[in-house]
Symmetry: C2
Subunit: 301 residues, 2 copies
Amino acid sequence: MKERVGFIGLGTMGKPMATNLIKAGYPMVVYNRSKGPVKELEALGARGAESSLEVAEKTDLAVTMLPDSPDVIQVVLGAEGVLEGARNGYTIIDMSTISPVAAQKIAKKASAKEVNFLDAPVSGGQKGAIEGSLSIMVGGERTVFEKCMDIFKVLGKNIVYVGVTGMGQTAKACNQIVVALTLEAWGEALVLARKAGLDLNLLVKALGGGFAGSRVLDVRGPHILAGDFQPGFKARLHHKDLRIALETGDALGVALPVTSLVHQMYGALKAAGKGDLDHSAIVTLLEDLAQVRLTGSRRTS
Amino acid sequence: MKERVGFIGLGTMGKPMATNLIKAGYPMVVYNRSKGPVKELEALGARGAESSLEVAEKTDLAVTMLPDSPDVIQVVLGAEGVLEGARNGYTIIDMSTISPVAAQKIAKKASAKEVNFLDAPVSGGQKGAIEGSLSIMVGGERTVFEKCMDIFKVLGKNIVYVGVTGMGQTAKACNQIVVALTLEAWGEALVLARKAGLDLNLLVKALGGGFAGSRVLDVRGPHILAGDFQPGFKARLHHKDLRIALETGDALGVALPVTSLVHQMYGALKAAGKGDLDHSAIVTLLEDLAQVRLTGSRRTS
């Protein structure tokens, strides 16, 4: 018989992930602050709970998918939290992107109650969540990871165990560094090319097949060239993720000069009211600086 | 009958490219400042010339493959240069990486003598030059491009016409921005991961199959993880290429904040005596800053 699974956090990512678990036949109990998504999942067969504590009481394992470190700490360690309702041998899989230090803190508290904890952040965005094709980076005890493999397989494709608690989040921080800097790189390249009068579709054709080719370009390139910044993955979340990377670097004594600059630029993007656009919208800052648009008429003014 | 082809600049890239043209059956006349590579190509059937002028007199088309803008200007426009020896209808293909402005200047002088000029920089490094698998970005008149297609096909695979004179070099500048920033991105990610105690092979496995995947990672990743910085493509040349990108941006009014920072870092790498290492050696600066090594024992001291 399948474990009873709890799911806490039914946002852009969490809702489709929970939906895939319901469709795969897992008995589900869900909790979310706003009740709309709870009702949608109830219609698919899930049971709604009144608190994270109730989720834990009624299930064998909980998945959390929340915006930031304080949210996960509150939901797991706080009053009426998961840990309050969890029995010995219960398992918590946090698939949010939070700081490695926060993950280690939660794991330690869980361990004291003989509750298992995995940090298992994902990459692949809403599209990956809907399709069940996320990349999942998992830290924690390997035996716990293996026990949860069937659940991971419902949610993702590229599932890699990367070491002890916190290593999943460390890997995710690395992922976010690479993706943000790649988006910035293409932003600078495209704005330069545009202002030089180069045909951007030809540029992408010339470069994409060579050493400059990347998955970021394959996936986001067509949207960027169409001026389409509908998320995808929101800029303000990438801003947060780079903050986590910088805090981690700071704690470890690792200087991240370019990550720091790109973090500043995501901050500027948020301040410009564009935090809810796709993270590739960082190119719009460069467009503004150069007074040029990639699409339509070339000059902004 | 095949055109008689001249080749000027028999360095890391030029020598294997000229070799491939000889093997493809083109009658070749070659010129190079140092005579060693000339003798090697003579042994393969090429004729050595005493000057660029002589190359032009004895051929229908010349390929130049030189380090920087002043070199190409000297070889094409200077005393005893290609243009001095070229007849009406002669064609010059510059495959060096130089500034778009320099390419436009040379094309204009050539045009005044009814000599064709293409700016056709390449990407793919020495490996691509040897294998004949370079990416080639070509600017100039389309009819001239089409006339030279057989030659391009000997040298490369992904051959794209990108527009008028200078657009080839503009595309190359964009390519070098993207590649340098991707190397820096992975450098920051790997050093952070290493100091956190994450297994770097697992990290690459977890991230490379997802959104952070790129050709740079596929090609250079294994070398970086092995601490192998044999070029490939030399750091000091990438420093030069980013200078070209910044000068182009400056001329066009395009701010390139992250390219600028990474250019500074390549300058620091050169100053540290590492300019002849592969461009991926930029990670060693980050290792120094964090006092950690990706390979062997973790601490530098």
